[in-house]
Symmetry: C2
Subunit: 191 residues, 2 copies
């Protein structure tokens, strides 16, 4: 099992047919996931395509995660939690300025993805809305978003099977609200 | 007033400070809007940034539409309707195959955007989730999406002020469900 330390990230490749198991080691910790086609890295994960084709915003076991070219990138094959966000972008330096009103430097998922994906030729503008594993976002009838503590307990996991050859970025999320104000590690294994 | 014929599109530039008024000429017709920075066209409209910073999925008068670099692209300065979608991608040939189970060729917003944006150097993989003006998408407590008839009546409009120099794509949407199964034109004016 690989370990992503709190407020850091990782990147790696997956061959079609391989599976990625993402584990919330201590509970209530979000992991932002992004993916790009190895053959043509401008083909990337698309929230809009995935939720449109599913007809639901909360994706879980059996659902496909599509690329912007409407091709399956992942299928979720196991899910202990069933509540993940696919609407919001990875936290970035501007997230902390705009939402948290922070003026000091702050770790962010976007910066961690940029750093780890750079060796694979992925530039910042190629990074789309991420699949935010374990992130618990509710929407009321008026459309207001609430970021609540993740429902995941220690050891809960999500497994995704690669449907094409992929470059993958994954983080242990850096944003206070998403992680119930405590930063924890994320585990992952590839099989 | 410019007129976009049913199931077609348009593209044009806006200078910072100019306003775009999008008019539903006959009622219940969706217009997909996308924008790119003229200075660096990989900077483009970001649903994820915009709804995260607003804390709401339904944007209206006063709200900002952000780029993937967290810079304001538009401010909504007038809105007769108050119900627009910012979650779903523009309808594409695959939308009709996957959702509508159509095997024949079908006009689509994505194809119309690609055609009209090509002279501005915008390629298909640069097109993100669009701001779907007048599109009425509701989400129930379980996260299920319902695409309902637009709330816009004939003559209803939305006005957006450009916050940077922009390349803009705009359509009269081609998807049956989004337009209550009748395709109508969209009007727009720039001032």
């Amino acid at each position: 099992m690989h370990r992503i330390e709190p407020q850091t990230g990782a990147a790696f490749t997956l061959a079609r047919g391989q599976s990625l198991r993402v584990v919330d080691l201590e509970g209530e910790q979000v992991a932002d996931l992004v993916a790009f086609s190895r053959a043509e890295p401008w083909e990337r994960l698309s929230s809009g395509r995935s939720i449109d084709y599913a007809g639901r915003i909360y994706l879980t076991t059996g659902d496909l995660l599509y690329s912007n070219r409407s091709r399956p990138m992942f299928r979720i094959i196991a899910d202990d939690v069933g509540r993940h966000d696919f609407l919001l972008t990875p936290c970035s330096p501007e997230t902390f300025q705009i939402i948290y009103k922070t003026t000091e430097a702050h770790p962010s998922c976007l910066a961690n993805l940029v750093d780890h994906l750079a060796p694979f030729g992925i530039a910042i503008d190629m990074i789309p809305t991420t699949f935010n594993i374990f992130m618990n976002v509710e929407i009321d009838a008026a459309g207001k978003l609430s970021i609540l503590p993740a429902r995941s307990k220690a050891g809960d996991a999500v497994t995704l099977r690669a449907e094409m050859d992929l470059i993958v970025g994954l983080t242990a999320c850096s944003a206070e609200m998403s992680n119930n104000y405590k930063f924890k590690p994320i585990g992952y294994e590839i099989f």
